[in-house]
Structures are given as structure tokens and as C-alpha cells.
């Protein structure tokens, strides 16, 4: 069956599709320039938990490192005072 096509509707539709394509291009450009696949948790919903856990683990490791550095400084200070 031949479908009737309204020119105005067709025009609107094409413009809409063009705009959609433009939006996708912009997203891709943002991905390229930032080097990250998403800028919001929403865009990586299924991976969010893993990302947050990893960030949490990273933070704890950093804290652990800084604690160790602190202990190291203190021990060095004690050593330098006792060796005199």
C-alpha cells in the first residue's frame, strides 16, 4: 500500500532526525574531549556500584598511605632525636 506523505510533516521529521544526529555528535565530542564515556552516573547505571566501590577503595588506600607516611615521619623524627 502506498503511504501518503505530508511534506510539512516530512520536513519536520527530517529536521528532528538531523537535530538528534547533532545531539549524538555532541555527546561523542564530549566523550572524546573529556576522555570519559559518561559525565553522569545515569549514563553508566549498571556500572555505578562498581565505580563507587572502586573510588571508595582508592580513597581508603590513599588514607592508608598517608597514615603510613605520617608514622614514617614520626619514626624518623624519633630516630633522629635518639641517635643524637
Amino acid at each position: 500500500m502506498l503511504t501518503r506523505i505530508g511534506d510539512f510533516a516530512q520536513h519536520n521529521r527530517t529536521t528532528q532526525l538531523l537535530l538528534d544526529a547533532q545531539t549524538r555528535t555532541r555527546e561523542a565530542q564530549i566523550q572524546i574531549s573529556t576522555g570519559k564515556v559518561a559525565s553522569r552516573f545515569r549514563d553508566i547505571a549498571s556500572e555505578t556500584n562498581r565505580l563507587v566501590s572502586a573510588k571508595n577503595a582508592l580513597q581508603r588506600i590513599r588514607q592508608y598511605q598517608s597514615n603510613n607516611e605520617l608514622v614514617d615521619h614520626r619514626l624518623t623524627a624519633i630516630q633522629s632525636t635518639t641517635l643524637k
Partner: protein
């Protein structure tokens, strides 16, 4: 540590406040949407009247129909409706649930937005009234119960266990909505389900955080220990009935040299009620101090000597309390009474908390040391200035798994606080993604339908061109006929003359 904790309490409190603020905005928006629905209905009704005035349905001006279609489109975006064109060309509108919104006269939706929105504040119902049920002077219904409720009044869409178990009937608290689509349904969903559930999760996180921090902090003691302890729990009514067991150790410490003056144990399980427990402490302290239930309802222990401080080890003391939300938690003796809390409540919600004022102003009062208990014979010694076991226990409390109850889509389980916070973010982002996908899908559907409608109603240039060619040919054929006829007449006239 104190600074970070203070910041954390502000962040969580701020987040909880933000949630209520957003609910308030959604509620105001609902009020505006209801207002717009009413004016759309009135507009459609006015056009209906004009269309009806034309002698025949076909005689009404197409502009009127166009205007009416525009208003129906605007109305359909706000609430799900079905329409029906009557014999005289006027339009009747019903909600998808079958409630009449417009037939001979438009109905009026009445909603009164809440002036302020808090965690458990109630909302008014959204009801449909006939125009004769509305007082024209005030615009309010003459008899508020005469209308048909589209959305019932209440607190939220899904009730929490504490709301289910309270004295108010559940039917008065639960909001049930018959609106299934449109902006109104979306706003109701945000106000009554999405935001309250997110708030539940934040409150659960805050509650678990407070429990873990205070449990660890009460089991330690600052160096030097304080001479006076004032409990933060003012309602001790559940103490007598609670399942209790074990013993806690109290020690009076000489603050000048850190030696133990006196140590004794109290039996939490054996005391009949809180007064009996205070009597046990008094007996143990002898003349060194006294324990009383203060007029405010909280337990207070005060030492008489100026150079003496009190240190407590929770030992195996356990007081099991099940709160209204269904959380069953084991409190130690000092933790139950809140004798040495790190964070205290400064509001009604779990997320309203702050670092205890005296610790905030003097961070050296944070628990760092532990009371070591050996015996029998009972010997209790408080770790000195170099003891940081209580501080380590505080840090460990944050990474230890603890039970949380099912809240807003997150199941009951045993998790660390950081994991739970991650779960909240993940849950919210999945919801956001799902909402965005649904929106995308619906947009695509709306676009496709729009396109089809345009294809039927719009002009096709090829079609018009073909029609024009057809007309041109018809014209030239007609011209030819005229020319032939003229020639025939000419011939005839020539013959006659």
C-alpha cells in the same frame, strides 16, 4: 576527625533537606498544573458553546475546531484523558479512569498545595467537583467531601513500617492516585514515591552511621576521662521490657596519674528497670559519686572528687531494642544511655545529627583509649595517652558490615556504610536511567504519531502537482472543446449567411 564528621553531618542533613525542598517544589508544581487543567477545561467548554451555537455542526468555523484541538492537546499533556465528540459537535472529556471532566459544564479540580513540606507532612487530596458544588466567591468547594477524589490525601504512596505501626489509620496516610499519565502523574510520582524513598535510604544510612559511631565511641574513653557523664537518651521507657544481658565495667580513674581508684561491674540483665541500674551504680561507686535519673529522663553519673574521672567498658552488656521501623539493635550499657556519644541528635530525623557540642569545641574529649578489664579479681586499667585503640575502633566501625533494613527499593542486608552509600547512588542512577529511557521511548512514539497525523492531514506537493497537471489538461481539453465549438458555429454562420 571532628571537622570531617561535622562536615559529613552537614552534608547528610543538607541532602535530606534538599529532598524535602524538591518535594515542596513538586507539590507547588502540582498546584499549578491543576490550575492549568482547570483553565484548559474552561477554554474547551467556551469553544464547545460557540461550536454548538452554529446552526449545524458543519457550519462552525474551522478555527474554533483548531483552537479546541490545541487545548485538548495541551490538556492531554497534563493528565491522561479520553475524548468523545457528541452529536452537536461538542466534545466531552473523561479521565482515563472514567471520571467526567467536561460534558455540559466543565468540572473543577481542587487542590490546595501544602504550605511547607517535611518528612511526614500530609498533603491534601485532589478532587473533582461540579461547578454548582463550588462557592463562586472563594473558589473553594462548599462541601469538601462531596467531590470525587482523583488522588487521595495522605503522606506518601508506600508507607514505611513506622507509619504502618503508628496509631493513625493507614488509609489516611497512604496516597492512592487514579491519575496514570501526564505531567500530573509524573509530579505525583516524584512527590509521593521517588523522593520519599530516596529520603528513606538517606535516613537509613544516617541511622546506621550514628549507631556504628556511637557504639564504638561509647566503648572507649577520652584521656583524661570526664568527671561527669550525662546520657543523651531521654526516653528510657523501653529499658525494662528490653531483652538484656551481660555486664559492663565502670572504673574511677585518678586523672593526675591515670591509676585506677575503684572498679566495679554492673549487671545489666539483673536490673529490673533503669532506677535499679542507677542504684547498682550508686552502690558500686560508694561515696565517690552518684548516679541519678535526671528530671529530663536521662541517666547522669557525677563523681565527687575533682581529680577523678569515669571510664566505662561495655564488656558483654547488651540491651536489644527494636525500634518502630523494625531495626533490632544490640546496645551496650553506655551506648544505650548515650553516656559518651560522639554524635547527638539535633532534630527529629536520623539525618539531623551533629558532633556532641563539648567534643566539637574541644576535640581532645574524643574517645581514644580503652579500659582493659581483667579478673576476677577485677582489675581495670585505662590505656594512657598513647592508647589509640578506641580511635582505631571508630575508624573500623565505618568499614564494618552492619545490618540495614529494607528501604525504598534497597533490600535488608548486612553492608558497610560506604557500600550502602554506593548502593544508594547506584539505585538512584538506575532509576534515572530507566526514567530517561522511558522518556526517550515515549518521545519517539509521540514523534511517530505526530508524523503520521501530519502525513494524513498535511499537504503532499507531488500529489498537488499531479492534480495541477490534471487540471491543466482538463483546462486545455475544455479550451479545445470551446475552440471546436466556435469553429463549428463559425462554419454554420458562414453557411447560413
Amino acid at each position: 576527625v571532628v571537622g570531617s564528621l561535622d562536615q559529613l553531618s552537614r552534608t547528610i542533613g543538607g541532602l535530606a533537606d534538599q529532598v524535602q525542598l524538591l518535594r515542596g517544589e513538586a507539590d507547588q508544581e502540582i498546584g499549578r498544573t491543576v490550575h492549568e487543567i482547570n483553565s484548559d477545561l474552561q477554554g474547551i467548554h467556551d469553544l464547545n458553546v460557540q461550536i454548538d451555537r452554529a446552526a449545524h455542526p458543519g457550519q462552525a468555523s474551522p478555527e474554533l475546531f483548531d483552537k479546541r484541538d490545541e487545548l485538548v492537546r495541551s490538556l492531554a499533556a497534563k493528565i491522561d484523558i479520553s475524548t468523545y465528540v457528541q452529536e452537536n459537535g461538542t466534545l466531552a472529556i473523561y479521565t482515563a479512569g472514567g471520571e467526567t471532566l467536561l460534558d455540559k459544564t466543565p468540572r473543577v479540580l481542587v487542590y490546595d498545595p501544602a504550605s511547607s513540606v517535611a518528612q511526614n507532612s500530609p498533603f491534601q487530596p485532589i478532587a473533582v467537583f461540579r461547578q454548582d458544588q463550588i462557592d463562586p466567591a472563594s473558589g473553594q468547594p462548599i462541601n469538601p467531601s462531596a467531590g470525587v477524589e482523583l488522588v487521595s490525601g495522605g503522606i506518601r504512596a508506600s508507607l514505611t513500617p513506622e507509619l504502618q505501626n503508628d496509631a493513625v489509620p493507614d488509609a489516611d496516610q497512604q496516597i492512592t492516585s487514579r491519575v496514570r499519565g501526564g505531567r500530573l502523574a509524573g509530579l505525583l510520582e516524584i512527590r509521593d514515591r521517588v523522593m520519599p524513598e530516596f529520603d528513606d535510604q538517606i535516613q537509613e544510612l544516617a541511622s546506621a552511621l550514628r549507631f556504628a559511631l556511637n557504639a564504638a565511641h561509647n566503648d572507649g574513653s577520652p584521656v583524661p576521662p570526664p568527671a561527669e557523664m550525662s546520657g543523651t537518651r531521654t526516653d528510657l521507657s523501653d529499658f525494662a521490657a528490653a531483652a538484656r544481658s551481660g555486664t559492663a565495667t565502670l572504673a574511677v580513674i585518678d586523672t593526675t596519674d591515670g591509676s585506677t581508684v575503684l572498679a566495679f561491674q554492673i549487671d545489666v540483665g539483673a536490673a529490673a528497670d533503669e532506677a535499679a541500674l542507677a542504684a547498682q551504680i550508686n552502690a558500686g561507686l560508694g561515696g565517690l559519686g552518684s548516679a541519678t535519673i535526671a528530671p529530663g529522663g536521662n541517666l547522669e553519673i557525677t563523681l565527687a572528687g575533682s581529680d577523678q574521672g569515669l571510664a566505662i567498658a561495655e564488656g558483654d552488656s547488651a540491651i536489644t531494642i527494636t525500634d518502630a521501623a523494625g531495626r533490632s539493635r544490640d546496645y551496650g550499657f553506655a551506648h544505650y544511655f548515650g553516656l559518651n556519644d560522639l554524635v547527638v541528635s539535633d532534630g527529629s530525623r536520623p539525618s539531623d545529627f551533629a558532633v556532641r557540642a563539648d567534643i566539637a569545641s574541644d576535640p581532645s574529649r574524643i574517645s581514644t583509649a580503652r579500659l582493659d578489664v581483667q579478673g576476677p579479681p577485677l582489675v581495670a586499667t585505662l590505656g594512657g595517652a598513647g592508647d589509640n585503640r578506641a580511635a582505631q575502633a571508630l575508624a573500623a566501625a565505618l568499614s564494618a558490615a552492619q545490618p540495614v533494613i529494607a528501604r525504598g527499593g534497597l533490600p535488608a542486608k548486612s553492608v558497610t556504610l560506604a557500600t550502602y552509600a554506593g548502593d544508594i547512588i547506584a539505585h538512584s542512577s538506575v532509576l534515572a536511567q530507566r526514567a530517561a529511557q522511558t522518556a526517550d521511548r515515549d518521545h519517539a512514539l509521540a514523534d511517530a504519531l505526530d508524523y503520521r497525523a501530519g502525513a494524513v492531514s498535511g499537504v503532499n506537493l507531488d500529489e498537488e502537482m499531479a492534480r495541477m497537471v490534471q487540471l491543466q489538461q482538463a483546462y486545455s481539453v475544455a479550451a479545445r472543446v470551446v475552440a471546436v465549438t466556435e469553429k463549428m458555429f463559425d462554419e454554420l454562420l458562414g453557411t447560413v449567411s
